[in-house]
């Protein structure tokens, strides 16, 4: 079908670099009217960057964008919309306190004189919904709708802007099985109208169910584009991950003796997030936690670190049952938590390096009610030298440090006092290769001294290169634990995507 007609959108040889990362390097993609084109790849493959370029939110460093064969120079978000490209992000762009009809017609309200023509607005919104075969109450505020219904509003909104191509970024991530089927129906309706769909998903079974063609990205490169029938699940997984472990990982120490468990989690449940999770970590062991976004990795770490309450189950450290009312209890017990997002959860950007590092253990520096700053500075200075934190001074605000150095400040917070157990959530996200290697080396030093580590990561090589055992999560449960040497990227992805029966 495709070759005979002209693609509606064609991007060619697109490149985009961010500081330290080549996010896209010469990728191409074309979308024909009425086709569903799936875009797959691991985290960091460059899918979202391409989506942002199509949406006009990011400018590529080089490459051409053709709309119906005509080159378009620079896309702005407004231009992208006018040209007929709509993007539905995972985070919806709806106004919660406006009604369904108002949201669909937002920014394009029909007017009569100075006032909005409500009758016309409702009838146009209703017509859009009807053409999708969707029934939604027009006068209900969007915040009262389910996630699936909100997504339909987003699609209707895109359609009402006369979009010719709709990009859907992980549209099924928050949907139930039945809702996904409904989504597929809507997508087929859109196809029939000649709308091209870019479907981005980690769930390969969905990709096979709905896509006409599949494009695979890996590390910012275009790997392959072909009709769906040309792929098998195994092919696809190989193409997505097929590379040797590029990053340099240190030699991990041998498995520690498993005499006493350090951390023992039993039947931990946080409603809607994790379900009946049990896991043991031994002293001196690094356990990797793999899984897709939303699989419950972060929730599990937050539960162990006392950051969020757990509904049921128990957490034991060195045989003592912990009753965690908050992070301070976990810290007092010897559990540290290096959070995923250092800027919003890990650091106080407007405070100095010194003040950030000593925050969890300020008690140590208080004598007769007064903080001894000299003692503070001395301890932090030692640690900063040890961790090679590059900062002009300890009084520098952490806001002004690079990502890698900020991450080292976060680590320093938890190394000032020796922790028995450390939860790492995405320990090396967004930092350069050099700092990564230093952090890996540090983790090895920690386990050599008997600390236990549970490390959640979306980066496959990191999970494989830095874990002694690997627990894979899928929909809030640990579905498999690989012992050392057993895991392969393909096998992990099969468990993480639910492709492997448990």
């Amino acid at each position: 079908m495709p070759a005979t007609i002209e693609p509606f959108v064609a991007v060619h040889d697109i490149a985009k670099a961010y500081p330290g990362v080549q996010a896209l390097d010469g990728v191409s993609l074309d979308i024909f009217p009425g086709e569903v084109h799936a875009l797959v790849g691991e985290n960091g493959a460059g899918k979202s960057t391409l989506v942002k370029i199509l949406a006009g939110a990011v400018r590529p460093d080089r490459g051409t964008i053709l709309i119906t064969g005509k080159p378009v120079s620079l896309l702005s978000p407004r231009q992208a919309e006018l040209l007929g490209i709509a993007v539905i992000y995972q985070e919806f762009n709806l106004v919660p306190y406006l009604t369904v009809g108002e949201n669909i017609m937002l920014g394009r309200e029909p007017t009569r004189g100075l006032s909005i023509d409500w009758k016309e607005l409702r009838s146009r919104a209703a017509a859009t919904l009807a053409s999708l075969g969707v029934e939604l109450p027009l006068n209900t505020e969007v915040r009262r709708l389910s996630v699936a219904q909100q997504q339909m509003v987003e699609i209707a909104k895109a359609l009402s802007t006369q979009a010719r191509v709709i990009v859907m970024d992980e549209p099924s991530a928050a949907l139930t099985g039945d809702e996904v089927l409904k989504l597929f129906e809507i997508i087929r309706t859109l196809k029939a109208k000649g709308v091209g769909i870019v479907y981005i998903s980690h769930r390969l079974e969905e990709v096979f169910a709905i896509a006409d063609r599949i494009t695979v990205f890996r590390d910012g490169h275009h790997v392959k584009t072909d009709v769906t029938a040309a792929f098998t699940t195994d092919d696809l997984i190989k193409l997505m991950v097929g590379r040797s472990l590029a990053a340099h990982f240190p030699q991990l120490p041998p498995d520690p003796p498993r005499e006493h468990t350090l951390l023992c989690v039993r039947n931990l449940t946080m409603p809607g997030r994790i379900d009946d999770v049990s896991l043991d970590v031994y002293p001196g062991e690094i356990v990797g936690l793999a899984g897709l976004v939303g699989s419950g990795r972060t929730s599990l770490l937050r539960g162990i670190a006392g950051a969020d309450p757990v509904a049921a189950g128990s957490i034991m450290l060195e045989g003592d049952i912990l009753h965690l009312r908050g992070p301070h209890d976990a810290i007092a017990a010897g559990i540290a938590f290096v959070t995923e997002d250092r800027k919003t959860q890990g650091l106080i950007l407007g405070m100095s390096v010194r003040e950030n590092v000593t925050l969890p253990h300020l008690d140590e520096f208080v004598h007769y009610g007064r903080i001894d700053r000299r003692e503070e500075t001395a301890s932090v200075a030692n640690l900063a030298t040890e961790l090679h934190i590059r900062t002009p001074s300890l009084e520098q605000l952490v806001r002004n440090l690079s990502g890698g150095n900020q991450q080292k400040v976060v680590l320093a917070k938890w190394l000032l006092e020796k922790a028995k157990f450390i939860c790492f959530d995405e320990p090396t996200r967004g930092i350069d290769v050099g700092a990564k290697a230093e952090i890996y080396e540090l983790m090895v030093q920690l386990v050599k001294s008997g600390t236990g580590i549970l490390m959640a990561s979306s980066e496959m090589p990191e999970v494989l290169g830095m874990s002694m055992r690997i627990a894979v999560m899928h929909q809030g449960r640990i579905v498999h634990v690989f012992n050392r040497g057993e895991a392969t990227q393909e096998a992990i992805i099969r468990y993480a995507t639910g492709s492997e029966p448990v």
Binding site: P327, I331, F337, P360, G369, I371, T385, L394, K413
Partner: protein, 348 residues
């Protein structure tokens, strides 16, 4: 190894250089500020024919700002946690009439004084807890909880007094608000002594500054205002600290009320109207960010002093009172605007 050593040394040298440069910048800035202030004061003094810097007048300014500065110290704690306390003006009225009432029913000087202080500070602190509890427990905006307290406290003050002032004839109490100590020292400058109000204000400013800069509680106040979630995950007792700042603000409203009631020799249900905004103005002019995480008691004191001096100069120059408010509003706007521009310049 040797190379690493060199790198470490190089970093240390660089650290020292940067620190030295920062110190030079800081010294220059301080000198600049002092020179600017001296020029300004000299000009103002000349414009008022020497009245402005006369010891009696300086003392007057300090006495006039005492209530506002004390409220502003409490407000600084609250605002650094990114909160706000609108209830302090009304709490002045409520604690004032309650103290007056207690002293009326306990005529003995010592008993009356002690009970009054206990009731004044206790009521203020208690009201502060009521301000803070819904904030920390249910995440209500402090603007709302303290607005509600502002209405309730004012209403209660009127209910308690039926709208009439209650006279205070406890001499020890009145001494706190209008008495002088060290008359011999005062005679050197041709003044009756050091006013109690000023002494109490300075003590509270110093204690406030000490707590904010030297103690764990103070560090946590900044941490919560800078990033509450990061502070919580670092084990900071966010619940207790946030409750604490409202408690401090409420209790200091009690102290401010004590000074005001003692000066008026009565508990007045109408007193303290608009004081919450006056003290917020002092805090903001003093460089504390309403977004939280940044500010100082020293800055707040300077802010209160600037506002007080401005009113004083305008009085000496005979500016009519309605025009004074116009000028004050413009000065607040200008001061905060300049501060913002300076920060943007520094970060760019």
């Amino acid at each position: 190894m040797a190379q690493e050593q060199q790198v470490v040394e190089a970093v240390e040298v660089k650290t020292q250089e940067v620190a030295a440069r920062k110190r030079r910048v800081a010294i220059l800035r301080t000198i600049g500020l002092v020179v600017g202030l001296v020029i300004l004061l000299t000009v103002l003094n000349a414009a008022t024919h020497g009245d402005f810097l006369a010891p009696g007048n300086v003392l007057n300014v300090l006495r006039q700002i005492a209530v506002n500065a004390i409220l502003a110290v409490g407000q600084t704690f609250v605002i650094i946690t990114a909160g706000i306390d609108l209830s302090v003006g009304s709490l002045i009225a409520l604690t004032g009439v309650l103290m007056a009432g207690v002293m009326q029913s306990h005529p003995a000087v010592a008993t009356g004084l002690l009970l009054a202080i206990a009731v004044g500070l206790g009521t203020g602190a208690g009201a502060g807890l009521i301000d803070g509890l819904p904030v920390v427990k249910f995440g209500l905006p402090p603007f709302i909880t303290t607005l509600a307290m502002m209405l309730m406290a004012r209403g209660l003050a009127f209910l308690y007094t039926h709208g009439q002032p209650i006279e205070i004839d406890n001499q020890a109490f009145n001494f706190l608000g209008s008495g002088f100590i060290l008359p011999s020292l005062g005679r050197l400058f041709g003044i009756p002594g050091i006013p109690m109000q000023v002494v109490i204000m300075l003590v509270i400013v110093l204690i406030g500054a000490y707590i904010l800069t030297q103690t764990r509680f103070g560090r946590y106040v900044y941490a919560i205002g800078g990033n509450e979630e990061a502070a919580r995950l670092s084990g900071v007792n966010v619940f207790g600290v946030k409750l604490g700042v409202y408690l401090i603000s409420g209790a200091l409203a009690g102290v401010a009320s004590l000074l005001l009631a003692a000066r008026l020799n009565s508990g007045v249900p109408q007193s303290g109207q608009g004081y919450e905004l006056q003290c917020i103005a002092a805090v903001v002019v003093g460089g504390t960010s309403l977004m939280g995480g940044r500010g100082s008691i020293g800055g707040t004191f300077v802010g209160a002093l600037l506002i007080g001096m401005l009113y004083n100069v305008m009085n000496l120059l005979g500016v009519q009172s309605y025009a004074q408010d116009v000028v004050l509003g413009a000065v607040i706007l200008l001061a905060v605007l300049l501060d913002q521009l300076r920060r943007q310049y520094l970060t760019s």
